[in-house]
């Protein structure tokens, strides 16, 4: 990878591009920064639910590890090539919470960032028209509008539920109205929509729409309750998780979590390559507690008393 060139390993499993992307747009949206990057490789390959991993700083940066962000939207290359969007862009929505995200959100148009993507598994789409509810917490709503459009193209009825602590931490309320058949807003403090959590309104919406699929993206606690509610109503939950990731490409084993496989056995799987989207009922939520996740005793290769 040199200069603005991108390498796309299209022929190999899980095609992914590594490119130096120019920032062509950046704007504040509530508590977040919305960035548009010229990353044709990622733009042409991505599907809703996948993510990109950005490097922080230049080669002399003290910050070595990449930061991951859900892809909000892509505009693939192609078309007549005359519009700016013909360049192939990827959009992300970033909450500045630490040094890496502060650096990323301070990039200006014309600056470049080193981007790898698309990474991970996309949200699976139902083959038949199904009624779907898409639930986003905070910036977790970012990938849902694109997903909503893909679902509606397949004839699905799509309801969106956006929740956040307060109005400024909601993302994409207007976009939700454009991309979905119905939108419900919740805030913890009642500054917008219903006062309360998404889990307060979700059961009613699933029932009203007879939803068969619930998609979720947001904090772990929220994903867990979405899973429980979906199960209670006979719907399938597909959730996109955010585990701490050192590489994002599957080589470091830092991002693992316990997930039940098709053989019924629990394994510590890499959320960057086998996720970030998992079936909610496959995730071993019982292993997460207070910011730690332990290895369940029944997991494959779990430590046994007296060693291995």
């Amino acid at each position: 990878m040199t200069g603005a060139l991108s390498t796309t390993a299209g022929g190999r499993r899980g095609a992914v591009a590594h490119e130096v992307a120019e920032v062509v747009g950046t704007r504040r949206v509530g508590a977040y920064q919305h960035l548009t990057l010229v990353a044709p490789g990622a733009a042409d390959l991505a599907r809703p639910g996948q993510f990109v991993a950005l490097a922080v700083g230049d080669e002399s940066s003290a910050t070595l590890l990449r930061r991951s962000f859900s892809i909000h939207r892509v505009t693939p290359t192609g078309g007549d090539g005359t519009s700016a969007t013909g360049l192939g862009t990827v959009e992300i929505v970033v909450s500045a919470v630490g040094p890496g995200t502060r650096w990323i959100t301070s990039r200006q148009p014309g600056d470049t960032v080193d981007v790898i993507g698309p990474l991970g598994q996309a949200f699976p789409l139902p083959t038949d028209p199904t009624s779907c509810v898409l639930v986003g917490g905070g910036y977790g709503s970012a990938p849902l509008f694109w997903l909503a459009e893909a679902l509606r193209e397949r004839g699905c009825h799509v309801e969106l539920v956006l929740g956040a602590a307060s109005e400024d931490r909601l993302f994409g309320v207007d976009e939700a109205r454009r991309s979905g058949d119905g939108v419900t807003i919740t805030t913890d403090d009642g500054s917008a929509g219903h006062r309360g959590w998404v889990s307060d309104v979700l059961p009613g919406i699933i029932e009203r729409t007879s939803a068969g699929m619930v998609y979720g993206c947001g904090p772990m606690g929220m994903l867990r309750s979405i899973t429980d509610i979906a199960a209670a109503h006979g719907a399938v939950a597909q959730v996109a998780v955010e585990e701490s990731m050192a590489c994002g490409v599957g080589v470091c084993m830092t991002c693992v979590m316990p997930v039940v496989g098709s053989d019924g056995r629990t394994r510590m799987v890499r959320s960057c390559v086998e996720g970030p989207v998992f079936r909610g009922d496959a995730v071993r939520w019982d292993a997460f507690e207070g910011g730690h996740c332990r290895v369940p005793d029944d997991a494959v290769g779990a430590p046994r008393v007296g060693g291995h």
């Binding site: 080669e59 050192a246 084993m253 292993a287």
Partner: protein, 315 residues
């Protein structure tokens, strides 16, 4: 053109660049970014006898110019490794330096024997023995911290493997005198050394006021530790030059991010270079470092890579 080929303990490699164990998984993931057969050798994640789930999370903490990890040797076990991973690497033409681990010296030998008996073992250019594992028989004391334990593991593995296959002992820097451990490993039959594994470190999560890693302590890696790796390679190479121990090839690892970084280890005495943590920043780092190193050697007028190995000892 600089001749970048290198012969490590009898095995000829097209170039000296390798992945570092545990920083490249077992090949498929990085093969999306570059052809893993371009490497001098692909070093796989240390594999143990049985499948292992590793530790709970968080398993990592970022540190200035580095990171801490506590993976806990998660892996599929040697059986799955020889049935799936090694054949895949062989199928794409990669030369492989499998890394093996154990909780007892017998486990190392067991892993080595399954490996040696496996069909795709022809792709191996040697075996790297990760002795930075807790020894359950000795209150969890890491093998590499004790010359006797190190030498027991190495001689068992050496006996188990066919003579044509060189054995590399991978040393820990967390010792008072790394030359003593190196000498013990060579005495026990190691054909080469890999230096260094991570340093034992720890990060406190100051929000929660508790250790950040699920495993409490972890291994420190990345550019911040490079001076320790250069020093370790220098000291052991020096001891070889002084005749304190036989001269064998050293594989240098620790904090290499650029060709210049690799050249530091080479000049200190390394005959091959592994790129670990830098791969998390740039998945193509091992081949990029190869290009950069080749360019640097060329600009300095070296005819072959071998001429640069250990030159800093002569100036």
């Amino acid at each position: 053109m600089v001749d970048m080929s290198v012969t490590l303990a009898g095995q000829r490699l097209r170039n000296p660049l390798m992945t570092a164990s545990g920083c490249a998984a077992n090949g498929k993931e990085l093969h999306r970014f570059f052809d893993v057969a371009e490497l001098g050798a692909f070093v796989t994640k240390s594999v143990m006898a049985e499948p292992r789930s590793g530790r709970g999370t968080p398993r990592m903490a970022e540190t200035p110019s580095g990171m801490l990890n506590s993976i806990g040797l998660q892996g599929p076990g040697i059986k799955a490794f020889v049935e799936e991973d090694l054949p895949w690497l062989a199928s794409v033409g990669a030369r492989v330096l499998p890394s093996i681990a154990g909780s007892s010296s017998e486990e190392y030998a067991e892993v080595a024997s399954v490996l040696a008996a496996s069909e795709a073992f022809g792709a191996a250019v040697g075996v790297e023995v990760n002795i930075s594992c807790p020894n359950v028989a000795n209150r969890g004391l890491v093998f590499a911290c004790d010359p006797v334990a190190s030498s027991t593991v190495i001689s068992l593995v050496r006996e188990t493997l066919p003579p044509r296959v060189p054995v590399f002992a991978k040393l820990s820097p967390d010792v008072t005198d790394i030359t003593a451990i190196a000498a013990a490993c060579l005495d026990a039959g190691a054909d080469g050394l890999t230096m260094i594994n991570t340093l034992l470190g720890m990060v406190i999560d100051t929000d929660r006021m508790r250790p950040q890693l699920g495993g409490v302590t972890g291994g420190l890696s990345g550019p911040g530790i490079r001076p320790v790796a250069v020093r370790a390679v220098w000291q052991v190479r020096r001891a070889m030059l002084e005749g304190v121990m036989p001269t064998v090839p050293i594989i240098g690892v620790g904090g290499v991010r650029t060709g210049r970084d690799a050249l530091e280890l080479v000049a200190a005495g390394a005959s091959a270079i592994q790129v670990g943590t830098a791969t998390f920043n740039d998945p193509a780092a091992p081949v990029r470092v190869l290009d950069e190193l080749t360019g640097l050697l060329e600009s300095k007028g070296f005819a072959s890579f071998g001429d640069a190995v250990g030159v800093a000892h002569q100036r």
